[in-house]
């Protein structure tokens, strides 16, 4: 069942103007070309999927969008500002958050601290106030704690809030990763294979969280995922990459019918 089909009216209302666009992005490591002349856009409030076989350049694309990698060519336009490359802290400040394919949580810190760290940008008090933990610094800690607890409730991880994340099972770590990204109250959320390695139930939970984030907070979502069922269910539009090039772009149904995609990704039928 396509979860989107149930509520076509909201979908139409939801999706807004282009918030993020990449144009002609090319990225190479030494002689290896990761991305070649890739262009696509993301509209506000939509769920945009990037799919492709292994090594197609999907993660590299996310890394270009939030500035971890600097592309050799092309532009990134985010909320009207055109740049030849992002910087991670500019991206973070401008409301782009992300999760990671291979978990990149702060393993020595508790769930709570991981998520509070996600709100670092929103904290204002200076080092001296923090050192004495008086007045504004104290009030701020409590205020942010409240916000983070809301997200903890939302993700249903109350029972492990003080556990160091390194000790949590994989599925929960994935949730904490999402929670840390959400803690920053992002406008755009980049999800790098949020369901990789999960069983069916865990996948269903994660799908629900992603849709809820999208519906309740209106967060724009860019999603890399291998599970085609999930992609078809969740996303409004899909970009397909293969060997670093874009080979298709459109609604899930269009992409599914595209011959190039079938050949490259779903495999040629025998």
């Amino acid at each position: 069942m396509n979860l989107r089909d149930a509520e076509p009216a909201t979908v139409a209302r939801r999706v807004g103007d282009v918030i993020l666009a990449v144009e002609g992005v090319s990225l190479a490591f030494g002689g290896v070309k990761a991305l070649t002349d890739v262009s696509f856009d993301v509209r506000e409030h939509e769920v945009r999927a990037i799919i492709g076989p292994n090594g197609a350049g999907k993660s590299s694309m996310l890394n270009v969008i939030n500035g971890v990698y600097r592309p050799q060519a092309g532009q990134i336009t985010y909320r009207g500002t055109k740049r030849s490359a992002m910087e991670p802290h500019i991206a973070a400040r401008a409301g782009i958050a992300r999760t990671f394919q291979s978990l990149a949580l702060f393993k020595g810190m508790s769930v709570l601290d991981n998520m509070l760290a996600g709100r670092t940008l929103l904290m204002k008090s200076n080092i001296f106030l923090q050192a004495l933990r008086i007045g504004p610094a104290l009030a701020e800690e409590t205020e942010h704690r409240k916000r983070v607890e809301d997200i903890i409730d939302f993700l249903e991880i109350q029972h492990v809030r003080k556990t160091p994340v390194g000790r949590l099972p994989y599925g929960l770590q994935k949730r904490v990763d999402l929670g840390r990204a959400l803690a920053a109250e992002p406008k755009v959320l980049l999800l790098d294979e949020p369901m990789a390695g999960m069983n069916v139930e865990e996948k269903q939970d994660m799908c629900r969280f992603i849709l809820d984030v999208n519906d309740e907070f209106g967060t724009t979502i860019v999603l890399i995922e291998h599970d085609m069922g999930v992609v078809m269910d969740l996303s409004d539009r899909v970009v397909v990459l293969d060997y670093g090039r874009k080979i298709a772009d459109g609604t899930p149904d269009e992409v599914r019918a595209n011959q190039a995609v079938i050949d490259a990704y779903l495999g040629v039928k025998h």
């Binding site: 020595g108 810190m109 509070l116 760290a117 670092t120 080092i127 923090q130």
Partner: protein, 354 residues
């Protein structure tokens, strides 16, 4: 049964975020402080203050500073001795060149000098990590050693490079008796430990730990590595600088650059590895361990009726430290502090098995 938190429900986030959320911990810490400030000065012997407590407290402060950098922010430094030297010589120059400056102000300014130098030598950390950085901090150590040995201005043209602290007094009270020195140092260490704990559990501490655990991810969520690393270097050097000034003024009295050589750096690093990386308590446990162990080792041969020369004892000491470092890294990388925490967990359940 005694150490249980059952029935202590937190109804506000503020109460869950206080310094010691568990009642028994609070009682214990307060009791400990009352003992340290109120009882100890009356029951301690001169030997205890001079040879154990004062060096222990000052080295704890330095270890605390180093732990901020290494344990919390993950930047290994082998230049701690050098930063202590900066604090010591800065304090000396302030005391000699600026008459009538309050001793506490002198120590804080000495810490500030160390902060500046520490942040300067922290700049390479923006480009290099791990043992590359460790070697870079060795550059700081050797350069600072040389600076105080060869540039006469810093030692006020003392011919031998040996300098002495002026008589110590605060607000008219002399700090000469062992008890007074102990209380003075204790007060400093308590305040700094509180500051360290507050920083470590606040936004800046989270930024440090995030940088330590996964620097790329930290950058992606908007923590600037430069700010996190340099602030860790700065705060750490401040602590270490104040400790250096205290070590020189209160513990040594008169000293030469050798007092802060590279072996001091190693010693402090060993303290935090044994005590516990990324733990305030660990800094104290590690310092206590390293101050007390040589004293014990000196006694052991006597108990066994064997004669050991000082040289032999110092070689055995090196072997024991070396073996312990490897042991702790393998068996319990979070050190004595972790053992303490495990003990507390056990105590929570005691006497019930689960």
């Amino acid at each position: 049964m005694i150490y249980r938190e059952a029935g202590q429900f937190k109804t506000t986030y503020a109460s869950d975020q206080q310094l010691f959320p568990i009642l028994q911990d609070r009682v214990f810490v307060i009791g400990f402080l009352v003992f340290a400030f109120g009882v100890m000065p009356f029951i301690g012997t001169e030997y205890l203050f001079r040879a154990i407590l004062v060096p222990f407290l000052i080295l704890s402060l330095a270890a605390l500073g180093l732990n901020i950098l290494v344990g919390y922010c993950g930047q290994v430094s082998l230049g701690t001795g050098g930063f202590m030297a900066i604090g010591a010589y800065a304090a000396y120059n302030l005391a000699v060149r600026v008459p009538d400056l309050n001793l506490i102000v002198i120590f804080l300014l000495a810490g500030a000098c160390s902060t500046v130098v520490g942040a300067l030598f922290g700049i390479p950390s923006l480009r290099i990590k791990g043992f590359y950085l460790a070697v870079a901090t060795l550059a700081a150590q050797f350069f600072i050693d040389w600076m105080f040995a060869r540039i006469k201005w810093f030692t006020h043209d003392s011919p031998s490079g040996n300098v002495s602290a002026p008589p110590l007094q605060v607000f008219g009270f002399p700090i000469e008796s062992p008890e007074a020195k102990y209380l003075f140092v204790l007060a400093f260490v308590c305040v700094f430990a509180l500051v360290a704990r507050n920083l470590a559990r606040g936004a800046i501490g989270r930024a440090w730990m995030a940088t330590r655990d996964m620097d790329v991810a930290a950058e992606v969520i908007g923590i600037r590595p430069m700010a996190a690393k340099l602030s860790a270097f700065a705060v750490s050097s401040f602590f270490v600088g104040v400790a250096g000034a205290l070590w020189a003024f209160v513990y040594l009295g008169s000293w030469e650059p050798l007092a802060f050589d590279v072996n001091r750096s190693f010693q402090l690093l060993f303290m935090i590895i044994i005590g516990g990386l990324g733990s305030i308590l660990g800094s104290f446990l590690g310092a206590a361990f390293i101050v007390v162990l040589p004293l014990v080792l000196n006694q052991v041969p006597g108990w066994l009726g064997v004669h050991m020369s000082t040289a032999t004892v110092s070689h055995v000491e090196a072997m024991v430290f070396g073996a312990l470092i490897v042991f702790f890294l393998i068996v319990e990388p979070r050190g004595l502090a972790r053992l303490w925490a495990i003990g507390k967990e056990k105590l929570r359940l005691w006497p019930f098995p689960h």
